[in-house]
Symmetry: C2
Subunit: 178 residues, 2 copies
C-alpha cells in the first residue's frame, strides 16, 4: 500500500486561531487576514515573540482540527497507509500535547503511525503533505504543499488549499493506478 | 553523507538494570544473567507485569548510558549523519523523558535528528542499529542487530555486541568507500 506522510500544524491542526488570540490578548487588536497573509505571523509588527509560546505546556493541546481532515483521512486509510509526521522535537512540551491531541482527534490512526521528528528527510513515504516547502525539498516522493499564509508565493509543488482538494488529488491517484 | 539510524533502548540506553531493580524490589530476588538470558525479561516467572512500568513518568529519565556509545557516536558523526530513532509512541510519558535524556547525554546530536516513532518502516537511512529484528525486517538499508537477551538466536543480520564492535564495523565501511 502506498504511504502518505501528513504534517500536523497548519495541515490537520489549525494553529492560526491561537496566534490571533494571543495577539489580541497582548495588544487588544484582532488581526485580519490582510494583516498577516503572505508572511509568517511572527513578521506582523509586535508579533515576533508569539513563537515563544510554542514552548508552553498546553499550547498544542487544544488546537482546532482542520476542517475535513478527519473525514478525508479516514477515507484515505482505505487505500493508503497514513503516517502523521510532525517536527515536534524543537518543543519539549509539545510532545505529550501532540500525543494526546492525536489520540483524541484521530483515534482511528494507530500510534505506530505517529512520528515526532525534526529533519523530515528521514521520512520514507510515497506522498508528503506539508505547509513547509523545505520539508518537501528533501522528500523523495511526491510533495503536496498545503496552503498557509507563509507559502503563498511557492510554486514548485502541487498546491492543496483544503482537505476537499486533498481528497480530489488522491482520487485521481487511485484512478491512475486502477 | 550516509546516514545511520540508531535505536535508544538496549542500544544507547541500558534498560536492564532498571528491570532488575524493579524485580528485586518486588520479590527480593536479584536475577542473574542465566535467569533471563535468551528471553524477554517479561518471560521470567513473576516478571510479566514489569512492562507496565514503561508507562510511568520518569521510567526512561534516568537510564544508564550504554558503555562507549557517546564516544563512538561522536566519532561516527565525523563521517555519517546520525539519527536517534526510538519507538516511543506507545508510552506517552516516555516522550518528555526521552527528550530530556537525549539532550542530557547526547547534547552534541542536534534535536533535528531525534525521531520518536512507532513503526520504523517509515525510516529512510543507509544503516539501522536496533535490538529488534522486526525493525530491521522492514528496513531498506543495512541492518545491524545489537545483541540483547531476547535476540540471541537471530541469525539474519550482522550482529554487534557492543559499541566497540560498532566502531569497528563503520571503520570497515569507510575503508570500503575510500
Amino acid at each position: 500500500m502506498r504511504r502518505i506522510a501528513i504534517d500536523m500544524d497548519e495541515v490537520i491542526a489549525d494553529i492560526l486561531p491561537k496566534y490571533l488570540g494571543l495577539y489580541h490578548q497582548q495588544y487588544g487588536i484582532l488581526l485580519e487576514k490582510e494583516d498577516y497573509w503572505g508572511k509568517k505571523i511572527y513578521q506582523v509588527p509586535g508579533a515576533h515573540d508569539l513563537r515563544s509560546h510554542l514552548h508552553t505546556m498546553g499550547f498544542f493541546a487544544d488546537l482546532p482540527v482542520m476542517e475535513g481532515s478527519q473525514e478525508v483521512i479516514r477515507e484515505l486509510m482505505e487505500n493508503f497507509d497514513i503516517f502523521i509526521v510532525t517536527a515536534a522535537q524543537e518543543f519539549r512540551n509539545s510532545l505529550p500535547d501532540k500525543h494526546d491531541w492525536l489520540h483524541h482527534h484521530f483515534p482511528f490512526i494507530p500510534w505506530q503511525n505517529f512520528v515526532f521528528c525534526g529533519d523530515k528527510s528521514i521520512i520514507l513515504a510515497d506522498y508528503m503533505i506539508d505547509d513547509h516547502a523545505f520539508n518537501l525539498e528533501t522528500f523523495q516522493g511526491k510533495g503536496l504543499l498545503y496552503t498557509a499564509s507563509h507559502n503563498i508565493d511557492e510554486t514548485r509543488y502541487t498546491r492543496v488549499n483544503n482537505w476537499e482538494e486533498i481528497r480530489g488529488f488522491f482520487r485521481g491517484e487511485l484512478g491512475k493506478s486502477a
